[in-house]
């Protein structure tokens, strides 16, 4: 799980926001909770209020320039050849990262949207400046294929399980018939009771 999010500044900001926002959240949540017995509508309203508060808190963080700088900077690569995330490029005298950081800061201060900042960086430095494929064009395949593989895998397992379940019970020598159904379950329960495992 590598770092992909805002480092300390964000976390510290988030902590400050928590102190401001939490009581509000708590009180908003408390009021409908007291009226739960009055009906389902109140419950729905309570849920909506909680969601709204959470969204406001999250959006407050997202609009902060320092947070945006950190978030976008962690989605970009330094292009000096070090293969590091822009804000993690750690060598002083790097010919690229200082300039890129300044450009990013200027764009964030101007209020450019995330996509606009990313587009301008891609135009200037090429698509490899983005630390991950975008959600456009062929790049989407990067994200879709693993999940398609997951779904196919589940499907395949379903087929395997079905075929295994439908398989005939292997024959046992000397005319003995294998146990099954309730008799087998009874033996299992007994075995578990005796071993307590």
């Amino acid at each position: 799980m590598s770092k992909s999010n805002p480092p300390s500044e964000t976390r510290t900001e988030a902590g400050t926001m928590k102190n401001v926002g939490a009581p509000g959240l708590a009180s908003s949540a408390r009021r409908p909770a007291l009226s739960l017995s009055k009906g389902g509508n109140l419950l729905r309203k309570a849920a909506q209020t909680i969601l709204l508060c959470a969204a406001i808190i999250a959006l407050l963080g997202a609009g902060d320039p320092a947070t945006r700088f950190s978030e976008i900077g962690h989605r970009m690569m330094c292009i000096c050849g070090c293969n590091q995330i822009l804000l993690e490029c750690n060598h002083v005298g790097c010919p690229a990262s200082d300039g890129m950081r300044n450009e990013l800061m200027a764009a964030v201060n101007r209020g450019d949207s995330d996509s606009l900042v990313e587009q301008s960086f891609v135009q200037k430095y090429g698509p490899t400046v983005l630390a991950a494929p975008t959600m456009q064009g062929f790049d989407r395949a990067a994200y879709i294929i693993p999940f398609v593989a997951l779904i196919l895998g589940f499907g395949l397992i379903g087929i395997v399980i079905r075929s295994w379940k439908n398989r005939p019970v292997p024959a046992i020598a000397d005319g003995l018939s294998p146990l099954g159904g309730p008799e087998l379950d009874q033996f299992r329960t007994q075995a578990r009771k005796e071993t307590d495992l």
Partner: protein
């Protein structure tokens, strides 16, 4: 010395080729003479098949002849190891003697390089690391050929396959990446020096561990392919290779995490895993190998997944080679600086040939791998292993897909893209969390069938515990530490971290409950204390309970990884007395200076570290400039605690005023990762220990009278 080294390498190639060809001839002859040998355990390494006595006949003469050829092949394999060992020793001696007439020594050593690193020169560059790879493979082959009496026929097949792989590496060493190649022109007075990043104590052990893991998977693969070719009956080959696989897996685990620790301690960017193609190359066989270690139990216990296991063990071996191909061919760009050369083509051909050979024998003999068992219930250990394997393979595929995607993108849309941490975080973490759920559920499921009632009973308390911990982490004040006061709705990474920690608690509690319930049974019947009972329980089934300890190690690692969501960093130019605050720590610059040594000159700063107003220590991050290679390297100073790592890097100096520029990272829970790895290794070692003998069985009549018979340990 270079001439002797070259000659020895050539000799090793000849011996290895002989071991391969003669071994193959011996097996073919024996197969033609008596196909039953394939199932009788008779061997091409002499001895066992002599029991079949029809002496005096032409067939007996032929068989004896083929046995003798097989025996010479075995001995040639042993001699290959000695030859490659000698070549490696010669290369190391050349490094210690500063023999810069050898190009490899010139490029990777220098006169002032400290002794241990001169030893590490053996695996510091392309040619040397291939020689080292070959040496380890020969060492594994050596052990395999010494232990041939376990099953002479199967070991003969495995020996031939290992010899085949060895031939490939020796061909590479002799004709494409010669470690004893001579410098052209005048002999330089001093070498270019070892890459500064490699001049770190861990680099003396990280590559050997990693290579022991990579190379080691050749052995289970060789046994699997051998068993497939000879249509080996039953699952005995799995029992034989179980220890090989576990030891290899332990080495690979150790290698992967040592690499992560090295990156963390040396590269100075504050992280331990950058999803670089070389890192991915080590992770892929580890994931596939882990899947194999689980699914192989299905084959052992229930005779299922035979075909799947064949492909898994092949995939593990193949991915280890593929990783090497990726990083040395230059196809995928990586920060790991191996020279790009034509050896990529050699690896590509080798990968293709091994795939074709394996596929051929699989298609030819797949009827032998049919399983007959029936799945009784979806809620069973069997189905949990199926899903476990699906997720491991999917993770492997995701890493492979992410590693190759830049190349695929270039082919499809004409431009490369970067596939870095944000991609893997988005795609791999959800799958890893699903895997963690299975790790919790799996041990609670019985083979064949589990009643929902018992699952509910066993699962309820661990689930409640996990939920309580999750709520606790959310409601506690943030001042308690980085992972407290966690608000998962604020950021997806916080949500993942909370899930990872909660599921880790779930796994821990299920593992603990397994120990507790088993221990309680023994305690009840023997009157021992709970701890002694648990020890006895573990000793009775080391594989099962060792495995649980490995699972516990994994969750400790996961908790450590979850801490990455709360990383913080600060960068500041610091003069005398300047302060920098990060998290609960305050750093005050007490001094900064320069130093000089024959190998490098260094700049360093001395910082006093305060926490809650009290000085708790001093840190001295260093930046070095190596004379020979003319390269700089940082040596971060790391102050590790269970709660967090304070990681300070000397990034450089402001040329105008001489003040050092320092970067401090606060990385929560990192120490848990390294602790978890130790636990995983302890669990693996425990799983390798033989089980204690089964308790004495008490006759039924006696049992009725004395209700104190100890229970027999359950299966895996």
């Amino acid at each position: 010395m270079a001439e002797i080294g070259s000659f020895v390498l050539l000799l090793a190639l000849a011996l290895s080729a002989y071991s391969f060809i003669a071994g193959m001839i011996a097996l073919i002859f024996q197969r033609q003479q008596n196909p039953q040998l394939a199932v009788a355990g008779g061997g091409s390494f002499g001895g066992a098949s002599r029991a079949v006595s029809d002496q005096g006949s032409f067939g007996a003469i032929l068989r004896q002849g083929s046995e003798r050829i097989g025996e010479t092949a075995r001995r040639a394999g042993i001699a290959t190891f000695l030859a490659i060992l000698l070549a490696s020793i010669i290369l190391v001696i050349c490094a210690f003697n500063n023999d810069f007439s050898i190009a490899y020594i010139f490029h990777h050593s220098n006169r002032d390089l400290p002794g241990p690193y001169k030893f590490a020169v053996l695996w510091s560059g392309q040619e040397g690391s291939l020689l080292f790879w070959s040496l380890l493979l020969a060492a594994y082959g050596f052990v395999l050929r010494l232990r041939y009496k376990v099953d002479t026929r199967l070991f003969a097949y495995a020996s031939v396959i290992v010899a085949g792989v060895q031939v490939f590496f020796l061909l590479l060493l002799n004709f494409a990446a010669h470690p004893f190649a001579i410098m052209q022109g005048n002999i330089p007075a001093d070498g270019s020096g070892l890459n500064p990043l490699l001049q770190y104590p861990e680099m003396v052990i990280h590559p050997p561990m990693l290579y022991l893991g990579y190379v080691g998977f050749t052995v289970p693969f060789a046994f699997a392919l051998g068993a497939l070719i000879m249509k080996y009956p039953g699952e005995k080959w799995i029992h034989i290779t179980r220890r090989w696989t576990m030891v290899t897996w332990a080495f690979l685990t150790c290698g992967v995490f040592l690499g992560a620790h090295w990156a963390y301690s040396v590269l100075g960017w504050g992280g331990y895993w950058g999803w670089d193609p070389v890192e991915n190359a080590s992770l892929m066989p580890w994931l596939a190998g882990t899947a194999f270690l689980h699914s192989v139990m299905m084959q052992e216990k229930r005779g299922m997944l035979k075909m799947w296991n064949m492909w898994l063990v092949f995939a593990t071996f193949w991915l280890a080679i593929l990783g090497t191909f990726l990083t040395r061919s230059g196809i995928i760009s990586s920060v790991h600086a191996f020279a790009q050369s034509s050896i990529g083509d050699w690896f590509a051909w080798f990968l293709l040939i091994t795939l074709l050979v394996f596929t051929f024998f699989f298609i030819k003999n797949k009827s032998h791998l049919r399983s007959e068992h029936k799945l009784e219930s979806l809620v069973s250990r069997e189905s949990s292993f199926l899903f476990n394997n699906l997720l491991f393979v999917l993770l492997t595929f995701t890493v492979l897909w992410g590693t190759w995607f830049p190349k695929i993108s270039e082919l499809v849309q004409g431009n490369k893209v970067t596939v870095g941490a944000p991609f893997y975080n988005r795609v791999a973490i959800p799958v890893a969390l699903l895997l963690l759920i299975l790790t919790a559920v799996g041990p609670l499921l019985a083979w064949r069938k589990t009643s929902l009632e018992s699952l509910k009973r066993n699962f309820m308390w661990p689930t409640m515990g996990a939920i309580v911990v999750a709520i606790f982490l959310m409601v506690t004040p943030q001042s308690w530490g980085s992972v407290f006061g966690l608000k998962p709705w604020k950021d997806i990474s916080y949500f993942y971290s909370l899930m990872a920690i909660a599921l880790s608690v779930l796994v821990t509690l299920t593992v603990a409950s397994e120990f507790y319930r088993g221990g309680r049974v023994i305690s009840k019947h023997t009157g021992q204390g709970m701890f002694a009972s648990m020890v006895q329980l573990t000793h009775r089934n080391t594989r099962r309970y060792g495995g649980y300890i490995v699972h516990f190690g994994v969750v400790v690692v996961i908790i450590g990884l979850a801490g990455a969501a709360f990383n913080q960093d600060r960068e500041k130019e610091m003069g005398y007395g300047d302060k920098m605050a990060i998290g609960p720590y305050t750093l005050i610059c007490r001094s900064y200076t320069e130093d000089d040594s024959p190998n490098y000159e260094s700049q360093w700063a001395m910082l006093d570290v305060y926490k809650d107003g009290k000085q708790i220590g001093t840190m001295t991050p260093v930046r070095r400039f190596y004379h020979a290679s003319q390269q700089t390297s940082t040596m971060p100073d790391i102050r590790s605690t269970l709660n967090d790592d304070l990681y300070v890097v000397f990034e450089g100096v402001n040329q105008d005023n001489g003040h050092p520029i320092l970067k401090a990272h606060l990385n929560p829970l990192v120490m848990w990762i390294w602790m978890g790895v130790w636990i995983m290794l302890i669990g693996t070692v425990l799983a390798l220990v033989p089980n204690a003998p089964a308790p004495v069985r008490v006759p039924a009549a006696a049992r009725l009278e004395h209700a104190h018979a100890a229970p027999v340990a359950t299966g895996d």
